[in-house]
Amino acid sequence: MIIECQNLSKTFKQGQEKVHALSDVSFELEAGKIIGLLGPDGAGKTTLMRHLCGLLRPDGGSVKVLGVDSVLGANQIQNQIGYVPQKFGLYENLSISENINLYARLHGVSDEELAQRVPRLLEITRLSRFTKRMAGKLSGGMKQKLALICALVSRPRLMLLDEPTVGVDVLARREMWSILRQFVEEEAMTIIASTAYLDEADYCDQTLILFEGRLLAQGTPDEIRKMAERFVEDPTFEEAFQLLICGSVPERLTRRNPVREDAPVRIEVQDLVQRFGDFTAVDHLSFQIRSGEIFGLLGANGAGKTTTFRMLCGLNQATEGKITVDGEPLARNLERMRSQTGYVAQKFSLYADLSVRQNMEFFGGAYGVRGKLLQERIDWAMETFQLKPFARMNAEKLAMGFKRRLAMACALLHQPSIVFLDEATSGTDPISRHEFWRKILDLADSGVAVIITTHFMDEAQYCDRILIMRDGLSIAVGSVDEICRQGGNAATLEEAFVNLVT
């Protein structure tokens, strides 16, 4: 057993209150596998990782890593393992090779071994060409790979990776997992990687499912999925997770009121161009979004999604081309357009020390909803998002899922007819996410146009139509099925996406 974890508990004090980051977690892991530590934000993944490296002391229970107790033998463990924390641990003003050399020397890797190993690592991660570049000038995916090299350079028997795929696009995520697989096979290494993206479970041999500090299940991805078989046909990993959390599998989400062919066009984009100096970020993009439609904007990092999004919101002025809203040019109707728009981002902008009700009053007021109407809308939001019991609680004290509901409620108080979602549900637990999308689908059913940008194919699944961008160009438009066909008759949206953008 490479890891034995017995009744591990950890509480953190947060002001007056105690937060149970881990409660009574027990598991054993065998060597030579990729183990996925899956759970939404705030499940206790990072706390568990830090215990495994001896960086935190348990309040109860014990952890043995490589046969050594994590408190008594913290140094011994730290000498033998590789660890990549969520924040990488790279020095931004050191170059790639300087970062690698630093970690190699700290790990006591000899110069001969270093000379032998580093070119291979650079080759596998395709960083060979950039060795002189400063770490601060690398993209998120490249930083992640460099951090991996720094931890791998000492040939550790055990690698711990804390969310190695957070914030990077599908391509970079696939590459990361295939690199990890290569090391497990070539060097008989054991890798524990945490992730909040449940669709990544299939890259792992074993999964540990963590939720609110408790270990819900341990098993291969197939074993986990099988648990939900008596509830639904051909269950997804997410459905199994939902089962583990609340004991049942919620109904699959479908549109009750699909978009009609003759639905009016709300937003029309024609030959949209955005140039920054010589660089063309968006290149003659055209599309239409109809009333009641959920429209997804997909693409790898740097494809032009964000730029397009900003132009649609009126934050950037287009270099060329036209955006019309309800047949009128956007530039001349910004004020009106904004009063009809709701916006929910991944990092929601709530005021932490205002109560739930005060947050709603503020955001409602900011959108010009006042008096009796505002009170009615707040009542509606409290009801719809089940926030009533928390009305007087400060936003910072809300659990993650409730914060998201509040953010959504705040964005909908002024009854917008166009809603923008920017990676709105990544990192959310499957239950809240299910509820969240139910609300979005209801909105679309009632005729609201919904525009989303996302890296996550899970979110993209709910779109009526998807536009995939590469290098500022539109390379595919259509429904999920049509995109799959265009992407070489791929079985999944992710596969189709990868085929299209590479």
Binding site: L55, A74, Q78, K87, L94, E98, L106, H107, C150, A151
Partner: protein, 375 residues
């Protein structure tokens, strides 16, 4: 401790330092800029004193006095005849002081019973005192010429009734040049900034960026990273010290009467105290903004205000005087001023440096304890 690891960390610190414009600025530009601004601007020397002489009745003695002030480089003097006009000028701040000669000045001089009246604008008391002193000096120098039968040097006699004669001489800073006392003070400030402020920032930054989290999961010891940071910032502090000494001695002509080696040795000790405080603060706060605020309040401001560099410790209220005993900068200011202006005074050197050594070991051990390899 492992030499290979420490050297790898020192190389890393050094590279980060030379690539960080802020550090270079603090190490090299700051000493130069501070010295030039303070050396020229913070001077407490007084020149261009505007004075009005009230001479109601022209006489040879009065003319001699007027001529004397006119030719003196420290004064801009004008002569008026009416007291009322002089008073008006003083009220309007057109002049800093009035010197009134009596009607019968000439006669009184012959009777050796001359009295003059001096009115000084004392809104700012210390400069007023200095200006008064200047006038007294000038008049004292005048006396033997007016009373030709008096021996030189007994001049004050005509202005003091009891016949007490004061011979004064300024020691250690004969020309009364402010730069001489400011340069050692600036060196204290610079070593405090580089030692405590810069060090607390770079260490807190490691915590903030999360780099320590991955560094801790290596065989590295926490004392090794502390040592590497100290080594590199120590070097930077020494560069700052060198620049300050160079500018101080060659541009402002500050004498270096003590042994330069002892001066550098004592400064290293103070730098180590500052570095240890910086490391301690950063490992307690783990946040750059907090670290900087704490460092400014606990080290930088006291090194200005409570070290005896700007304000005389002996004239502070009792509890502040007690407080200054816990400010390392106080001992260093004393050591530096003695080293520059007086020479090697061994009892002074031993006292100050042993206190600094005690501070250094105390803070370093504390920093080591407060930097466990845990989060």
């Amino acid at each position: 401790m492992n030499l290979r690891r420490i050297s790898a960390l020192i190389v890393k610190e050094f590279r980060q330092l030379i690539r960080d414009p802020l550090s270079i600025g603090l190490g090299i530009l700051l000493p130069a800029v501070l010295l030039l601004i303070c050396g020229y601007g913070m001077s407490t020397d007084i020149r261009n004193i505007k004075m009005v002489l009230v001479i109601p009745e022209t006489s040879e003695e009065a003319n001699q006095i007027a001529a004397r002030f006119r030719s003196n480089g420290f004064f801009h003097s004008v002569v008026v005849h009416s007291t009322a006009e002089a008073e008006r000028m003083l009220h309007r701040h057109e002049v800093d002081m009035c010197l009134f000669l009596p009607h019968d000045f000439s006669k009184k001089c012959r009777e050796r019973n001359a009295e003059v009246f001096l009115a000084v604008n004392a809104s700012n008391p210390s400069p007023a005192l200095l200006k008064k002193g200047y006038v007294q000096t000038v008049l004292a120098e005048m006396a033997p010429r007016i009373f030709s039968d008096l021996p030189a040097g007994s001049a004050n006699g005509i202005f003091s009734s009891d016949g007490l004669i004061i011979h004064s001489r300024q020691w250690f800073n004969e020309e009364n040049r402010s730069a001489f006392s400011i340069v050692p003070g600036i060196i204290v400030i610079i070593l405090t900034i580089i030692g405590a402020l810069l060090t607390s920032m770079v260490m807190a930054r490691e915590y903030e960026l999360g780099n320590l989290e991955s560094m801790f999961v290596t065989p590295m010891r926490s004392s090794e990273i502390l040592l590497a940071k100290m080594t590199v910032n120590f070097g930077l502090g020494m560069v700052g010290l060198g620049i300050s000494i160079f500018i101080g001695c060659f541009l402002f002509g500050v004498p270096m009467r003590g042994n330069p080696l002892i001066l550098v040795g004592g400064s290293s000790l103070y730098l180590i105290v500052s570095l240890s405080i910086g490391l301690l603060i950063s490992s307690l706060t783990k946040n750059q903004f907090l670290a900087v605020s704490c460092t400014i309040i606990t080290t930088f401001l006291p090194s200005y205000l409570l070290s005896g560099f700007l304000f005389e410790i002996k004239s502070m209220p009792g509890f502040l005087q007690v407080l200054t005993r816990f400010i390392p900068a106080r001992y260093y200011v004393d050591f530096l001023q003695t080293s520059f202006l007086v020479g090697d005074v061994w009892p002074n050197i031993i006292k100050n440096l042993s206190v600094l050594a005690a501070f250094a070991s105390f803070f370093f051990v504390l920093a080591k304890i407060k930097n466990p390899k845990r989060l």
